[in-house]
């Protein structure tokens, strides 16, 4: 069988060599607790600090603004619940979008049950929230605005800066949180320019291992800690630092090319894929032009997503029907973007990494072409 083609990099990525090498180091030699006073602890603490600096450098922020977490879900939960609790006395309104990842969306549902007024902005046809929506939704009573930087299913880039401007203009006490899990390491992010107070990212989307992520918390902003105990991470996230994950994230960042240098190649790949796939009968693009070129969402009209997935799997090609977190369910992101249910039922998400090649796109397009030719369509309503 030909080598596996992995086009599901928004679900997770393959850990890179440096990530594994660094991970190995903290498992076999530098395995101390960074809080210990002896030499092993010291070595570990130094390593932790270097890793934190590497993350901070990517975001153009201070190292003390980085809190390591167990991943995207913890980061998003911490940020959303923490910011809401902090703002509770000053206002009751939260603005977010209808296309957030479940780790934000479900947290919002819970806050709503607790009495917050949650405004969920709907995307335009192109999958993005229009900047004007933020200006009309953010009121002086707003205490939290949470918006993702890149949508995990369509790749559509959201106007986070506009949300920051809307907060400033309204004079609201709101904190701005940004879920950057799909964006970090793939597009340049300067937290200050973006105007965010909190930002979430995850390691395993950029070739580190699962179980590690971080939360950026702007200096001067305080939110209640989500995990309390031994006071690690300056009391903002207790628990012995998860050094294996942190080491692998550090390693992954060492190997990660500078985002802006990588983007042109990915752009080219994305357009190449678009030309190849839209040449097939019945293929319609769901990702908008100008989206993050790591995510490519299309519908193959007349075929069920799961059928296409199974069929491509037989060719050794791994793709997804939407987000891996909601397997089987029709994508709410696409439905919220105003696509018809039958188009949503036929959606496929290809997600690329820096290792994805044109040859892999070719093989995938050829396989999909064969599938369309040989398989029967479902009766579509």
């Amino acid at each position: 069988m030909e080598p596996l083609i992995y086009l599901d990099n928004s679900a997770t990525t393959k850990p890179c060599e440096t990530a594994i090498a660094y991970l190995n180091r903290v498992l076999s030699s530098a395995w101390g607790n960074p809080s210990s006073r002896h030499r092993l602890g010291l070595e570990s603490e130094r390593f932790l600090r270097e890793a934190r600096q590497a993350v901070a450098a990517r975001l153009h922020c201070r190292e003390e603004e980085i809190i390591f977490t167990a991943g995207g879900t913890e980061g998003n939960n911490t940020a959303v619940f923490g910011a809401a609790m902090k703002g509770r006395k000053r206002g009751n309104r939260i603005v977010t979008t209808a296309i957030e990842h479940p780790s934000v969306a479900v947290a919002m549902d819970r806050l709503e049950q607790q009495g917050f007024e949650v405004i969920r902005l709907k995307p335009e046809k192109n999958g993005s929230i229009s900047p004007e929506q933020f200006f009309s939704a953010v009121t002086p009573e707003t205490v939290l605005v949470s918006v993702m930087l890149v949508n995990n299913e369509t790749g559509a880039i959201q106007p986070v800066r506009a949300a920051a401007d809307a907060i400033r203009q309204s004079g609201a006490p709101a904190l701005l949180h940004c879920d950057a899990v799909q964006a970090f390491g793939k597009m340049p992010i300067a937290v200050e320019k973006l105007g965010v107070d909190l930002l979430t990212a995850s390691g395993h989307k950029i070739h580190a291992v699962k179980g590690i992520g971080f939360l950026y918390l702007r200096k001067g902003v305080q939110i209640p800690a989500y995990l309390v105990g031994g006071g690690q991470e300056s009391g903002r996230r207790s628990g012995t630092e998860p050094m294996p994950g942190i080491a692998s994230l550090y390693g992954a960042l060492k190997e990660l090319p500078e985002e802006k240098n990588q983007l042109p190649r990915m752009q080219e790949l994305w357009y190449y894929a678009r030309d190849r796939f839209t040449a097939l009968p019945g293929v319609e693009m769901n990702s908008p032009e100008g989206c993050l070129p790591y995510i490519f969402n299309m519908s193959v009209m007349g075929y069920r997503s799961e059928t296409l997935l199974n069929a491509l799997d037989q060719y050794g090609i791994c793709v997804s029907s939407g987000s891996a977190c909601a397997k089987g369910k029709g994508s709410t992101v696409l439905l919220e973007s105003g696509l018809l249910p039958r188009r949503v039922d036929s959606a496929l998400r290809l997600s690329f990494s820096r290792e994805t090649t044109k040859e892999e796109i070719d093989r995938t397009a050829d396989a999909l072409g064969e599938i369309i030719k040989t398989m029967r369509k479902a009766y579509t309503k």
């Binding site: 069920r304 799961e306 059928t307 997935l309 199974n310 069929a311 799997d313 037989q314 397997k327 089987g328 369910k329 398989m375 029967r376 479902a378 009766y379 309503k381």
Partner: protein, 398 residues
């Protein structure tokens, strides 16, 4: 202190001359289920089975758990073995029942004197045991109407037994005593419940699943295996036949009118299933149909599918509402698996407007374009068999 498990076999007691066949079948079920826990001796007397572990540190908790899922058992309990001597009974009762008695406030004692040679009459046994317990646990009082716990002393052929309350068994008949049948299983909520219901009436199960790769995926098949795994905890080992169905579905899509798609598909399933089932000695098919639930479960549709089965088709859920079926599926722990959202062969090509009231002859006409016999033969030839064993797990353990 020697402990055993006492089993009341319920409905079997009503059987006439073949009663011993039913009892041997039940003993066989029990022996197979308990085998991994260690050797036991099983004896029968007076519609009671006695399970006596041969080792000291027997895992009674797990044995009782497994007992709950054996059909043919009306009730069972853990009991302490005593000599048929009131002194021994009075000495052991407070010791054996210590944990139970300390957790309750009121109790009553019942005595069953199956061995009429025992010198004391039942009320006398009750009085003496009750007194002994009251002396040992002064916080207790007797309540003959609504006691927290009923303590039973049974004087039987071989020995006397002291026990607390009984645990309700799964009921039904021992698996295998009604013969062998094959259930058509898709992965939905109904078919596992139908399978369980018929196993409860003493049927040994085969299962037949239709897979249409790549329209359906490996997860759909795994889901069926997981569902059968739950059912097999009651029914024992199940032989699973996975029938390749892609070609037939594609041919139906090609040659049959769309509104007949589901009907013709179900008729093909019946044809193939009755042949596979008969090959393996099954005397009936089992389906999870419930009258009127979906388009293919109207009376005319059922008649159309029944017409092509060469075996009787058992539909234990035919008169059940969805809620009743869901309640059973929760009880037997299949519900959460059933609702996993994978395409199965029934959902792949659902027609926009399925025909719900086919008249005799219409299905035959709709099937005219199919090269029937070779399609069926190829599907049967490509069928893959495997066994679902209730107590084998952990295939992916590294």
């Amino acid at each position: 202190m020697k402990e055993i498990i006492l089993i009341k076999d319920g409905e079997i007691a009503l059987k006439g001359l073949n009663r011993c066949n039913f009892e041997s079948a039940l003993a066989g079920s029990i022996r197979r289920r308990l085998k991994p826990l260690g050797e036991v001796e099983i004896r029968k007397a007076q519609s009671t089975l006695y399970i006596e572990p041969k080792q000291e540190d027997y895992d009674f908790e797990e044995a009782l758990n497994r007992m709950k899922k054996i059909f043919g058992i009306a009730a069972f309990s853990r009991a302490c073995v005593c000599e048929k001597d009131i002194t021994d009974i009075l000495a052991k009762a407070p010791v054996y029942l210590k944990e139970t008695m300390e957790s309750i406030r009121t109790f009553k004692v019942e005595a069953k004197r199956a061995d009429k040679r025992f010198p004391l009459k039942s009320p006398e046994i009750c009085a003496q045991v009750g007194e002994a317990l009251l002396n040992a646990f002064p916080h207790l009082s007797v309540d003959v109407h609504h006691p927290d716990e009923i303590i039973t002393v049974e004087v039987r052929d071989y020995a006397a037994y002291i026990r607390g309350g009984q645990i309700r068994g799964a009921g039904g008949l021992p698996v295998g005593t009604s013969g062998h049948a094959a259930v058509l299983i898709s992965g939905g909520i109904d078919s596992p419940v139908a399978a369980w219901t018929m196993a409860k009436r003493g049927l040994m199960l085969d299962a037949i699943h239709f897979a249409s790769p790549p329209y359906t995926g490996p997860r759909a098949e795994q889901k069926v295996r997981d569902l059968l795994g739950k059912v097999s905890q009651y029914s024992g080992v199940i032989r699973l036949a996975v029938v390749p169905f892609t070609e037939i579905q594609e041919q139906i899509g090609e040659h049959c009118p769309e509104e007949y798609f589901t009907l013709v598909m179900r008729r093909m399933m019946m044809r193939i299933s009755s042949r596979i089932a008969a090959q393996h000695g099954c005397l009936a098919l089992i389906t999870g149909e419930s009258l009127g639930q979906v388009a293919s479960q109207t009376l005319p549709a059922i008649a159309a599918t029944d017409a092509v089965s060469t075996l009787p088709v058992l539909r234990p859920l035919i008169g059940n509402d969805k809620e009743e079926i869901v309640a059973i599926s929760r009880k037997i722990d299949t519900f959460d698996i059933s609702i996993l959202p994978y395409e199965d062969c029934c959902t792949v090509f659902t027609p926009r407007h399925p025909h719900t009231r086919p008249k005799p002859g219409q299905c035959e006409a709709a099937e005219e374009g199919l090269d029937m016999e070779p399609l069926i033969e190829r599907a049967i030839a490509g069928t893959v068999y495997s066994y679902i064993d209730p107590f084998v797990k952990g295939e992916t353990d590294p």
